[in-house]
């Protein structure tokens, strides 16, 4: 597994440590969707601080993960998108619509603690 996933209480935290291949991203997706059930998690945080590039495939896969996790009954928040990555994503038209984001791990945890269900539902309703 290229991305370590930690169980932290009711949450799963996936921290991207290095550049990911397409296969790594799909593996992350499958692992998270499965683990949410196994650990009965209520929230998932994906920390992408170390991601060098967020191209259309990575962006689409993260969006898919968030939507699949929601269908499994939990919420996902993407944290740590770097300024230059955000800049490029906007240029590419990759807005991660319907996906919750937060500045960093701390904010992501706070987001889930506040009751992500309600907030995530509102975000999702616009997609």
């Amino acid at each position: 597994m290229a991305v370590p996933i930690l169980k932290q209480g009711a949450y799963l935290i996936a921290s991207v440590q290095s550049a990911l291949t397409d296969a790594d991203l799909l593996e992350l997706r499958n692992a998270l969707v499965e683990m949410v059930g196994r650990y009965r998690s209520r929230g998932v945080i994906i920390d992408v601080t170390a991601m060098d590039v967020m191209d259309s495939f990575a962006s689409r896969t993260l969006r898919d993960i968030a939507h699949m996790i929601r269908l499994r009954g939990a919420e996902t928040v993407i944290v740590g998108i770097q300024p230059e990555v955000a800049f490029t994503m906007v240029q590419l038209g990759l807005t991660l619509e319907g996906v919750a984001t937060a500045l960093d791990l701390e904010e992501g945890l706070a987001f889930l603690d506040r009751g992500a269900k309600k907030i995530g539902g509102q975000v999702g309703a616009t997609s």
Binding site: A19, T21, D52, V53, S56, S59, Q82, T88, G93
Partner: protein, 154 residues
């Protein structure tokens, strides 16, 4: 710098890349697996960094390379990326050429439309690369292959 677009011109020399302009520090990367996408964008980032591009532009260039390399894999299965420094009247440009001998693009204008895709992807790849880079040229011939040349000026 003008954006040049040559949609599948008859007799287009697929694979010619950047024509006669002097190019230095050329790196060629075969694209045959998704690992190569990562290799190509990391090599591109290093070269662009040596050229003195800002962090934003480094990410932008790496992302453009990533999109082009994935297109090769997705549509042609294999191909080659060439990275280099293009010199034009004392100005340096980072140039990337993505060439394959795949099926080619039947309708280049369509392929450059936002949200158009024949593979179920988001359809942001080619139009995205065009937006990220300064110059963008695509030459494609059905049954022969596709060559995309994109340049970011320093």
């Amino acid at each position: 710098m003008s954006r040049e677009l040559r949609p599948s011109a008859a007799g287009a020399d697929v694979g010619a890349g950047w024509g006669q302009a002097p190019v230095k520090d050329v790196t060629r990367i075969p694209i045959v697996s998704d690992q190569d996408i990562v290799v190509a964008r990391q090599k591109g980032r290093v070269l662009a960094q040596q050229m003195g591009f800002s962090n934003s532009n480094l990410t932008l260039i790496a992302t453009a390379i990533s999109e082009l390399a994935r297109n090769i894999l997705r549509y042609a299965k294999r191909g080659e990326m060439t990275l280099g420094i293009l010199q034009n009247n004392g100005r340096d440009g980072f140039v990337v050429v993505a060439a394959d001998k795949g099926p080619g693009i039947a309708d280049v204008a369509r392929a450059l439309e936002l949200g158009y895709s024949t593979s179920g992807s988001l359809g942001l790849g080619l139009p995205g690369v065009r937006r990220l880079m300064d110059d963008f040229e695509i030459v494609s011939k059905v049954g022969k292959g596709t060559t995309v040349t994109a340049t970011k000026w320093r």
